[in-house]
């Protein structure tokens, strides 16, 4: 661990492991994350792999990446520009050029460089020698050769030997960050239990990489990122989609209502369905329906029958569910609709992130059909967002759309494990059996919610459906005045949810010159940019919205008292338009990007600085 090079302390580091789809980069990244957790750093990760399952080998389209952002200080994003790039072939360099900053260390498998590989990567000349990479520190290591050398006496076949070259690369990186190899050894022991020769081979290659970096003095400096000052507690690493699934299960436990998911596979939301199918041991009924419509309709049926019902989807699926969402509005049943947004319109950019379903979520239904719209703000935060969406749905008897996005869903973060006893209880307004005064559309005065009379309960037989209902009794009614009353009641019911959600927080001086407004999955990068500018003494505050319909009660106050307001979002200005409509007295600047990518820190700082001029 001593090494010959100087150890430099860093606050945070972004490292991207990149190689061909078959190079095992996801595993390498995950193993590095595990070690990062043991080092006590805060961290976030993001896998970046092609939409195609087996894209052409060696091409830019076939590059698979895994990024880890870790720090001594709190880490709010999965990182953008990288400090270290591990590139297992020329295509990996090509694919990641936009993510390099001056000085990025590129650890490159020099054995992968040949004419064919260059051609596949669309290079006309070797980028490591022609000046293309002049701004970066390129560390060429003959990783394939050295892996072969390390395993030459094992009797393993060449294919298997080369498969472990990712461990050689990992060994180098572990050395670079002064890590111990124990956590990786542990992984080998568990993963290859009963195969001592495989364990030994992997250890050999990992050690070889580590020692190679040391002996050959590959780096002038090595780095150390001290442990983060995290709260005491038990932690785990969790992706947004898994956190979403677990948050729903937690809400089921705290409400006593069994969890039902009706869903249809769609990128990038599929993993929520995949995750929930695992927990039949916890009584989760996850139903893979024949289409998006059946996904939500089966959920509405399950909700009618007393379940905490959920449907999960992405943009195109949300479009298909529109009519059924109207039914849930009309029948005033609890329902959680999770939309993990991706680039649109139509099939759009399935594996890329965007925030462009906001207007669809708010208004994409026939008739005046208000429902609650919320947005998750971080991968680990998806746990609490899902819980909260379920709480509001159950306690207010309404459908709730919870917006996530591809970056949140696939990204992972450090998650402090909560105790279930510390989570609030959720109380749904169940109608009492044999209540002689029961009426399907009788409402309580505070929330205007109707009661939930679950089939099987004695004395509460009733009929609901998509036709307009008579106020109170719930019989069919086409009476003109009744429709006006019911439409207004549905609207007011949603408006009153504002009484049951937290006030909008403003981070920083409530009268700062520039108020930065954001919502949903952009929280981390926007907050980091604002923090950075405040450290530079600039008058910037941040309001990040998680509740969108209804908006928090103090939204007007939060927006008041600034010289400028800028609304940042990964779409063409949907939230800005929504704020303009609700609070037309303010002037809203916009920062919008629609490239299927999250904001980068630098571009936000530039925009904010421009606005402060």
């Amino acid at each position: 661990m001593t090494g010959k090079s100087k150890v430099v302390a860093l606050d945070h580091v972004v490292i991207r492991f990149s190689g061909d789809s078959g190079d095992g980069m996801q595993l390498t990244g995950n193993l590095f994350s595990d070690s990062t957790a043991l080092a006590g750093n805060d961290f976030a990760t993001f896998p970046d792999y092609p939409a195609e399952i087996r894209p052409p080998q060696g091409t830019v389209a076939g590059v698979s990446g895994f990024q880890v952002h870790f720090g001594h200080k709190p880490v709010h994003t999965t990182g953008d520009l990288c400090d270290v790039l591990v590139a297992m072939n020329p295509a990996s360099i090509k694919a990641n050029m936009r993510w390099l900053r001056p000085g990025t260390i590129i650890i490159f498998d020099s054995d992968s460089m040949n004419e064919k590989a260059l051609e596949k990567a669309n290079y006309t000349a070797d980028p490591t020698v022609d000046g293309t990479l002049a701004d970066y520190q390129v560390v060429k290591a003959p990783i394939s050769t050295l892996t072969k050398e390390a395993l030459k006496d094992t009797g393993m076949d060449m294919k298997s030997i080369l498969k472990s070259k990712n461990m050689f690369a990992l060994g180098i990186v572990m050395y670079l960050f002064n890590r111990t190899l124990d956590s990786v050894y542990d992984y080998f022991e568990t993963k290859f239990k009963g195969k001592p020769e495989v364990i030994k081979a992997n250890r050999t290659v990992l050690d070889a990489g580590f020692h190679y970096a040391d002996t050959w003095e590959l780096f002038t400096n090595t780095f150390k990122v001290e442990a983060a000052d995290l709260d005491k507690g038990k932690y785990r690493n969790i992706t947004g989609n898994v956190a979403m699934a677990w948050g729903l299960m937690a809400a089921s436990e705290r409400s006593g209502r069994p969890l039902f998911l009706g869903s249809y596979p769609i990128t990038p939301a599929t993993d929520i369905l995949v995750e929930l199918t695992k927990y039949k041991n916890l009584n989760v009924k996850a139903f893979q329906a024949e289409d998006e419509i059946a996904g939500i309709m089966s959920s509405i049926g399950a909700s009618y029958a007393g379940s905490l019902a959920v449907t999960t989807t992405s943009g195109p699926g949300l479009s298909l569910k529109s009519e059924a969402m109207g039914l849930a509005v009309m029948t005033e049943l609890p329902l959680v609709i999770i939309d993990v947004q991706r680039g649109g319109p139509s099939t759009g950019l399935p594996t890329k992130t965007e925030q462009s379903d906001l207007m669809q979520a708010l208004y994409g239904r026939n008739g005046d059909a208000p429902l609650v719209v919320m947005a998750a703000k971080s991968s680990a935060g998806c746990f609490y967002s899902a819980f909260e969406a379920a709480r509001i749905a159950l306690e207010h008897m309404t459908p709730v759309i919870l917006l996530s996005d591809g970056a949140l869903g696939n990204g992972s973060e450090v998650f402090r494990i909560p105790r279930m006893a510390d989570m609030p209880t959720i109380t749904a307004p169940l109608a009492k059996a044999n209540d002689p005064d029961y009426m399907p559309y009788r409402r309580d005065e505070e929330k205007l919610r109707r009661e939930w009379a679950i089939p099987g309960t004695e004395g509460l037989r009733h009929r609901v459906g998509g036709l307009e209902k008579e106020n109170g009794k719930g019989n069919l009614s086409t009476n003109p005045e009744n429709h006006q009353i019911m439409t207004e009641l549905r609207e007011e019911k949603i408006a009153r949810v504002a009484n049951d959600i937290p006030l909008q927080e403003i981070d920083g001086d409530p009268n700062a010159d520039l108020l930065v407004v954001s919502w949903g999955g952009t929280f981390g990068v926007v907050r980091t940019a604002v923090d950075k500018m405040r450290e530079e003494g600039k008058s910037v505050a941040h309001a990040h919205f998680s509740y969108i319909m209804p908006l928090p009660r103090n939204t007007e106050e939060v927006l008041s008292g600034h010289k400028k307001i800028v609304v940042c979002e990964i779409n063409r200005g949907q939230f800005a338009k929504y704020l303009r409509m609700n609070y037309p007295q303010f002037k809203y600047e916009q920062y919008n990007k629609v490239q299927g990518l999250p904001f980068t820190l630098g571009e936000l700082e530039n925009k904010f600085n421009d606005l402060l001029k």
Binding site: A37, E290, A324, M420, P455, T457
Partner: protein, 343 residues
Amino acid sequence: MQDQNMDKQVANLTKEDFVSDQVVKWCPGCGDHAILKAVEDVFPKLGKRKEDIVVVSGIGCSSRFPYYMNTYGFHSVHGRAAAAATGVKLANPNLSVWMITGDGDCTAIGGNHFIHACRRNIDINLLLFNNRIYGMTKGQFSPCTFRGTKTKTSPQGTFEDPFNPGELAIGAKATFFARAIDMNPKEMTEIFMEAYKHDGMAVTEILQNCMIFSNGVHENITGRDVRDDMQVKCVHGQPLIFGKNRDKGIMLKNNKLEVVTIGQDGVTEKDILVHDKTQQDTGIHMMLAHMMPPEYPVAIGVIRDVVAPTFNDSLDEIIANEKANSKIKNMDDLLNSGSTWTI
């Protein structure tokens, strides 16, 4: 004691217990009235509490049905009743779920949900009111309208072939298919009872007359003069004999069904096909469902009733098994499982 009381209550249920307070708004003379009465006749005999019955429907004239039954009821959106009913049944398998749909609702906009509900074999009793027309939107052709029929949207006559719901259901792996006629109340109640007893997806097609837009569409089957010769009652274990003089039968000849006359060409009763509703192979059931005038009489009664695992039972078994064998019993267990670290 309570259970006994409940049993007694259930045993004492009558038709009146299931009549809702809503005014039935179907046209006078509509076949739907007779189907409603038949269902009201059957429900007290199910041995189920009123509270444990849910009627789910889609959109169309027939789909107003739930409002007229004093049970739990859910009137969903067009075509999606099968998906909603699936959710109800999976959420609470103790409920007896009845789905009401029409030929348009079920085989056009709802076709996908219909075939998949059949395939999964979810324990739902599906009553398909087939009047071969869109009634509620006032007379457009449906996927079950016969070729050449002139309707509002086929002024020159349709130029597409219709679905036969029986073929569709059996082809989609429904484990139960029956056919009834709205004019035969007793037969309807018997068939509905069989559908209820069937564990799994039970599809019953009811040939139902729309007085306004397709009046008489089933007349070549149900007419007083022709009905004996144009209907063959499928009774399990009995030969498929029909006709005013009970002298006609269905025979399997040259790999197809044929109408024969007993006593002619050496045909005896022994040559007549004996109905076996429990045959797993769909071949004969498909042929029976396919039969249409003028070549054949229409098969009435339970055509197919086979045993297969239901989706809902399978799900419950897996859940019970996973619960029994998993170390993770609650969310705290799950949250703390796997790779964690402490600071």
